[in-house]
Amino acid sequence: MTTPKVLVLRAPGTNCDHETKYAFELAGGQADRVHINRVLESPSLVEQYQIICIPGGFSYGDDVAAGRIFANQMRSHLADVMHEFKNSDKLILGICNGFQVLIKSGLLLDDDADGAPPATLCWNNHGLYEDRWVYLQNSSDKCIFLRGTDRLYLPIAHAEGKFVMRNEDIADQLQANQQLALKYVDAAGVPAVGFPQNPNGAQRNVAGVCDDSGRVFGLMPHPERFLEGTQHPRWTREGLQPEGDGLALFRNAVEYFA
């Protein structure tokens, strides 16, 4: 099997880069943490990689809005190289802040004819940052990262994670196209009805979204925080799982290049 190279792209304020690199390596990839300034200096750097992952954190402090400044950099300076990457049968993953960056940079969902984004991630309904474990349902056959998964249990930790689409038509279309890939459910797998199962008030319980190809994926929960049994909040009562639910996402990414 070939070992894919993963570019873990960090900016000032990115703070989940170490554990995200670790997750890809545990899954068999070879990952580098690379500062955005290196990519801005030589955008062709990304061509050496098969997977780009934008990890969680507070890029540029989430000032103005979560992920906005980083996304704006992508739009202003890296749009060509990123679209080229996306169109070369490679994978892009955005976790939490990375999801916010992907959605706001237009890399995940195309802008409409007026250049306006079809969806966004905005403030949680209760207006606060929240760290909490949630149940999730794989709702897409096309998302590469979720292949073979069904129900997942992962932590969220964000203030601006509420997924909102511009209108119902867009929602129906994304739904029909299996792009609303990951949804909040309850412990039994029933669609979430409000807080706390749906921790932020996301429309249609959306926790993660993929592009039309299934190769670009963004999600609010943190799969890199559940790689091993002791990270589960109830391992002392339920016993140690041999591996965490999050590892599957990284393994799927690596195995895509097998």
């Binding site: 000032p12 304020g13 990115t14 703070n15 989940c16 170490h18 554990e19 670790y22 500062h35 300034n37 290196r38 969680g56 954190g57 507070f58 540029y60 402090g61 989430d62 000032d63 103005v64 809005a65 906005r68 400044i69 704006n72 950099q73 202003s76 300076h77 306006a116 984004p117 079809p118 969806a119 966004t120 905005c122 403030w123 309904n125 207006g127 606060l128 940052y129 929240e130 760290d131 909490r132 474990w133 932590p155 930790a157 909102v164 689409m165 511009r166 943190h222 890199e224 925080r225 790689l227 049994g229 002791t230 990270q231 909040p233 109830r234 002392t236 009562r237 140690l240």
Partner: protein, 975 residues
């Protein structure tokens, strides 16, 4: 040049959440309930910007078109003054000039990324208030919308024509005539100049300059004041103290050194080759060994005075500061988790009851929690442990303790600057932020403090510190510097002064990068601008160091050079503005000599007969008392899992919402060794005897760590003394007595103190309506923080009940100890014996219980603290979603008690060194054998039936659904 205003409103159909919350705060404040507040935020952009570009910025960068809408116009334009509801009054809130505005800085960067030139950006908030008169709006602005310490309120439209700050500074060397001043004049100078030095200290300085036959410059006087401040030198506790209580009399040359520190010295001697302390009481944090590769550093700081004036900024910069402490320990430790402990007055207190100059405790609490949240979360450091303590004596002086644990490679644990190396500052720029923070924090607060000391309040910018951390850890691993310290209180003056203490240094004050023009050389020197670290960089490494910093957008500047002359020489361009010997600066302070008295209060007895009629109500009342009640509202706002090392989270149990005893973190990815973090604090016990308060806090911190699986022989602790006005002998006496307990406990348990910090003079004075001076002193408040180690985290346990049918044991003995207990608090009773600690018992219980946990014999373990056995049992039951049957007949006690006395004591006494432990029936024999040498007894079983049942033999005392108990515990702080 144009000045654009961009107002951002929620789009049609989107909720104005900020407005709704403010409306509810306004009603809480007592304003007309028909009030409606609409919240708007916005940006001011100054520069040669076309209208089309301003619109583009609003649309593409500053607002989110899916959920927001904007109004873009030149400042003063009528379009900006169209109220959403006719008849609304308009208020703007904008930062005072020079207050940190991180969002504006980032917005400026984003604007430049879009290829648009902008000169200045500022953010503001704007409110439309409907349904009340101007008087109410003024009150709302003052109490809720703005904080006068950092913000200004503009009623009506904004009237501004420029944003630029600062004016060019014209150099002028200032000399202060001191040599011929009288004592009164010296005292005046100290006060007016905000030096906060005593007369004896001022006289010492006077004599020094008389000897030099010249007057000091302003910067020399400031340097001395900073270095000699209580905050930087801890002169009271490290000073001479004559102590006397009813039992002993002692004279200390250096009180801390002879108590807390001496205990560690003694323990290290006794441990000999097994000594696991690495660096204690000398660096910014204490260091102990961890594994073959790493040591671990731990520090807890206080940031009380700034938090009283501006809770958000105070707490924000408090956590930012303590993170820099671990970063500045050895050659730099990587921060791996935070712990935060707060003390507030009751958040439900009536607005009309507040003394002048005091912020409402609810506002203080919300601000402090937000400040810690925003800094810790942005830094990517999990906040894993904490506590909140409520007592109305914290009304004028809330306490904010912020702690940080760091991981440091073994060989990077020490540092030394050398002559010839550059003094380099990296990170934030220098502004007028926090001028006089060090001296101010050593003074008593008054209702005027807000006006006098507004400059001491700062807002942090976590991302700047995160960038500093990223490059410095890389530079550390590349060996690019030889020494590092943080810029904390006293700014460059303290950081460079300390680093060059043993060598000598010359400083180029004109070189420091500034936020804006106009700072004098003295302001540069003492500014406490945040997010700066100082390094000693060998000349040959400077280029590499600078390049590394630049590559991640971090400013690095040479501001001085270490020179082997034993002097502190301060230059502005080519002019020498200050020249002091390091010896006078660091050793010239006259010793403080203080008296300390303590009168040990006589123990009184509470008659308990006829006081057991309401056991069920008492239990619910304790569960709902603020100190015990669930802090989930706070905990969930902190990222407690970033870095992916979380093993035992703050909230545990079947619904992830029970109160864990201690957090467990695995700091090295892929390795199985863990750290526990816990704390202990009992200010109410201090009202009875500060000796037992301190001993109990230590016991509590240790037993919390032991309860989750920490090895008691590898627990290190920190002290943080927050006290009132220690010039009063009885106040200082209560502190010395606590320090004596620290010594006794540490030595007996072989649990070393590795670092500590004190904050004195926590008192608030104001004039009441009759014109009399009223002073509120905080209760003596000692925080003990513990860091423990677990060889294999898979052996850890949690406090939630696990399975029906399992057996419950009480480990440890219940005594007639209700003094300062939460049962007496809710019953409004005084007296009783305060819980004491038997160290011999600790040395039997802790290792034995640890052995049982490590061997897998324990399914759940919860320590007994506030509310005693009753609260521990209730918490354990509802956290596990299971019922519990307790028979008090089995509870071990020191003496025979009977009747109501027996039931009250067994349920609610707060005797130390006790645990409630769940064991499976098949492991009972092994458990009892492992606990062979200590008092342990079966007290009940876990049941299926969702009830907490307490009997004493045949008599049922209490039968309550666990849902009801949980609701009592969760509802008070479910904000």
């Amino acid at each position: 040049m144009s000045l654009w205003e961009i107002d951002i409103y929620p789009a049609e159909g989107q909720v104005d959440r900020a407005g709704e919350e403010l409306t509810s705060d306004a009603i809480d404040l007592g304003l007309d309930p028909s009030i409606q507040v609409a919240a708007v935020h916005g940006y001011l952009l100054e520069g040669d910007i076309e209208e089309a570009d301003a619109n583009r910025l609003a649309d593409k960068l500053l607002a989110d078109s899916v959920v927001e809408k904007t109004v873009v116009a030149a400042v003063g334009d009528e379009r900006l003054q169209q109220a959403p509801v006719n008849g609304s009054l308009l208020v703007h809130v904008i930062n005072k000039p020079g207050v940190m505005d991180p969002v504006a800085m980032s917005a400026q960067k984003g604007i430049e990324d879009l290829g648009i030139a902008v000169d200045q950006v500022r953010t503001f908030r704007k409110y439309w208030v409907f349904g009340v008169d101007q008087g109410s709006v003024n009150r709302l602005a003052e109490k809720v919308l703005a904080n006068d310490a950092i913000e200004q309120v503009v009623h009506g439209p904004l009237q501004l024509d420029a944003l630029a700050l600062g004016t060019a500074y014209e150099f002028e060397l200032k000399k202060i005539s001191i040599r011929s001043l009288t004592d009164d004049e010296l005292e005046d100078l100290s006060k007016q100049g905000q030096l906060y030095l005593t007369l004896v200290e001022m006289q010492t300085i006077q004599k020094h300059f008389q000897g030099l036959d010249r007057e000091p410059t302003d910067i020399e006087l400031e340097s001395i004041a900073q270095t000699w401040s209580e905050h930087c030198s801890h002169k009271t506790l490290a000073g001479r103290i004559a102590y006397k209580d009813d039992e002993t009399e002692r004279h200390f040359e250096n009180m801390l050194k002879e108590t807390v520190f001496a205990a560690t010295v003694k323990i290290r001697e006794e441990l000999g080759e097994d000594d696991w302390c690495v660096s204690v009481f000398k660096d910014n944090a204490g260091i102990v060994t961890f594994n073959d590769e790493f040591n671990v550093a731990f520090k807890v700081e206080t940031h009380n005075h700034p938090s009283a004036l501006e809770p958000y900024g105070g707490a924000n910069t408090g956590i930012g500061g303590v993170i820099r402490d671990t970063l500045g320990t050895g050659m730099g430790a990587k921060p791996i988790c935070n712990t935060d402990i707060f003390c507030f007055a009751n958040p439900e207190v009536d607005h009309d009851q507040l003394p002048p100059g005091v912020l409402h405790p609810r506002r203080v609490m919300k601000g402090v929690v937000s400040g810690v949240r925003d800094y810790g979360n942005r830094m990517g450091i999990p906040t894993v442990n904490g506590a909140i303590y409520f007592d109305n004596r914290y009304l004028g002086n809330p306490l904010v303790y912020a702690g940080n644990v760091g991981l440091i490679p073994k060989e990077k644990s020490f540092k030394e600057a050398h002559a010839g190396e550059w003094a380099v500052v990296i990170g934030g720029h220098t502004g007028r932020d926090g001028i006089h923070g060090a001296t101010f924090s050593s003074a008593e607060l008054t209702s005027d403090s807000e006006m006098l000391s507004g400059g001491a309040v700062q807002i942090g910018n976590a991302i700047t510190e995160k960038m500093v951390m990223d490059v410095m850890l890389e530079a550390r691993d590349r060996n690019l510097y030889t020494c590092v310290t943080d810029c904390g209180a006293g700014g460059l003056s303290s950081a460079i002064g300390e680093m060059g203490e043993e060598i000598g240094v010359e400083v180029y004050l004109d070189k420091a990068p500034l936020k804006y023009d106009g700072l004098s050389y003295t302001e540069v020197w003492i500014s406490e601008a945040q997010e700066r670290m100082v390094f000693s960089v060998p000349e040959q490494n400077w280029k590499a160091f600078q390049t590394l910093c630049e590559s991640e957008g971090v400013d690095a500047t040479i501001v001085g050079k270490f020179v082997d002359h034993g002097r502190l020489v301060l230059k502005y361009h080519d002019e020498v503005v200050g020249d002091l010997t390091m010896d006078f600066l660091h050793n010239g302070r006259p010793p403080i000599i203080r008296d300390a008295h303590y009168e040990i209060p006589a123990v009184t007895v509470i008659d308990l007969e006829d006081k057991a009629a309401s056991l069920e109500q008492d239990l619910e009342a304790i569960l709902g008392s603020l100190n015990v009640a669930s802090k989930e509202w706070v905990v969930r706002q902190y990222d407690h899992e970033v870095q992916a090392g979380s093993v035992v989270k703050p909230m545990v149990g079947i619904q992830n919402d029970g109160p864990g005893d201690a957090a467990v973190v695995k700091p090295v990815l892929g390795s199985s060794k863990g750290l526990t973090v816990s704390c202990g604090m009992n200010p109410r016990y201090g009202d009875y005897d500060t000796y037992h308060m301190a001993a109990s806090a230590i016991d509590e911190a240790i037993r919390n760590s032991v309860a989750v699986g920490a090895d008691p022989s590898r627990i290190a602790i920190l002290d943080n003394f927050c006290w009132g006005y220690t010039d009063r002998p009885e106040t200082l006496g209560s502190l010395v007595r606590a320090a004596l307990a620290c010594y006794d406990m540490a030595v007996d348990l072989k649990t070393p103190f590795i670092s500590g910090k004190d904050s004195l003079n926590n008192e608030f004075s104001y004039q009441n309506e009759e014109g009399e001076k009223v002073t509120i002193s905080i209760p003596p408040t000692l925080l003990i923080s513990a860091i423990g180690q677990v060889e294999d985290v898979a052996t850890c346990t949690t406090m939630d009940a696990k399975e029906a049918g399992n057996v419950l044991y009480q480990v440890g003995v219940t005594k007639r100890e209700l003094g300062g207990s939460h049962w007496t608090l809710i019953r409004e009773l005084e007296g009783g014996a305060v819980p004491s600690v038997c160290t011999e018992n600790c040395n039997a219980v802790f290792p034995a219980l640890h052995q049982a946990i490590k061997s897998g014999l324990v399914r759940a373990c919860h320590d007994l603290s506030e509310g005693g056995l009753a609260v521990a049992a209730a918490e354990m039951a509802f956290a596990g979603g299971l019922g519990m049957m307790i028979d008090l007949a089995g509870v071990p006690t020191d003496l025979d008690y009977s009747g109501d006395t027996e039931n009250v004591l067994k349920l609610f006494a707060e005797s130390n060194t006790r645990f409630l432990v769940e064991v499976t029936p098949e492991n009972c024999a092994a458990f009892e054998q492992t606990l062979g040498g200590v008092t342990v007894a079966r007290v009940g079983t876990i049941t299926e039936d969702d009830q907490l049942v307490v009997n004493n033999g045949d008599k049922n005392l209490l039968t309550t659904p666990i849902g009801q108990l949980k609701e009592a515990w969760q509802s008070p702080l479910r904000w």
